[in-house]
Symmetry: C2
Subunit: 108 residues, 2 copies
Amino acid sequence: MDAYGDPGLGLLGDPTRRAIFELLARQPCSVGELATRLPISRPAVSQHLRVLKDGGLVVSRAEGTRRVHQLNPDGVTALRAYLDRVWEDALTAFQKAADNAGSEQEKQ
Amino acid sequence: MDAYGDPGLGLLGDPTRRAIFELLARQPCSVGELATRLPISRPAVSQHLRVLKDGGLVVSRAEGTRRVHQLNPDGVTALRAYLDRVWEDALTAFQKAADNAGSEQEKQ
DNA sequence: CGACTCCGTAAGTCTAAGCTTACCGTTCGT
DNA sequence: ACGAACGGTAAGCTTAGACTTACGGAGTCG
C-alpha cells in the first residue's frame, strides 16, 4: 500500500499535531509559546515537533536558548502534490466511468 | 484548536485507511474487492469506509447486493482548500519575516 | 421458499501512541 | 562561576482505535 508514497499526511492525523501545524503556519514559534497556546505540556509539544521535523513538515533554528520552529515550504508543497496526484487519478476514473455509462446506454 | 476546521485530514492518518482512499482514487470498488487487495478482513474495510463516508471523502451506491464506493469530489476539493489556506498563511508569514529581517538590517 | 452472496454491526482484544512527570544538557546574564 | 530560562529525552501510564470473529439483514437466482 501507499502507492503514492506518504508525504507526511499521516503526521497530521492527530488533532493536536495538526493544531501545531496550523499555529506554525500563522507564525514561527518557540516550543514554550506553543505549549502555552495548547492544552498540553511542553514536552508533549516537543515530541510533536520532533515528529513533524522528521517528516519534513517543520524546520527549526536556534535563537539564543530558544528554538524557533516554522513550516517547511517543501513539506507543504509535497502534501499538495500528493493530493494533486490522487485528484488527477480520481478525475480520470470519473471520466472512464462516464464513458462506460455512455457506451452501455448506446448498446440498448 | 483546529482554527481552519478539519476537512477530513484526520481520517487519512491511518495508513490502511489512506490505502483505501488511494485505491478508490484509481477506481470505484466494492467492499469485498478492497478486502482482497488489502491485508485486513472485510469487516475492517467496511469500518474504514464508514469513517470515510461520515467524513465526506467517499460516497457509495448500491449495485445488486454489492456496494460500490468511490471518492467524493467535494471531499477531495475540501482537502485541497484546507492546504491552500494553510499555505497562504504560511506565505504571508514568510513574507512578514523577510520584511522584518530587512528592516532589522537597515537599523544597523 | 431456500440457498447463496455480499455487506454492515456488535462485542471483545490488543497494540500503537499521545501525555505526564522527572531529569539533564545548553545557553545567557550577572 | 553560579543561577535561571529554555528545551530535548526517558520511563511509564493510559486511552483511543484498528482488527478479528461471530452474527444478522438485504438482495438475487434456482
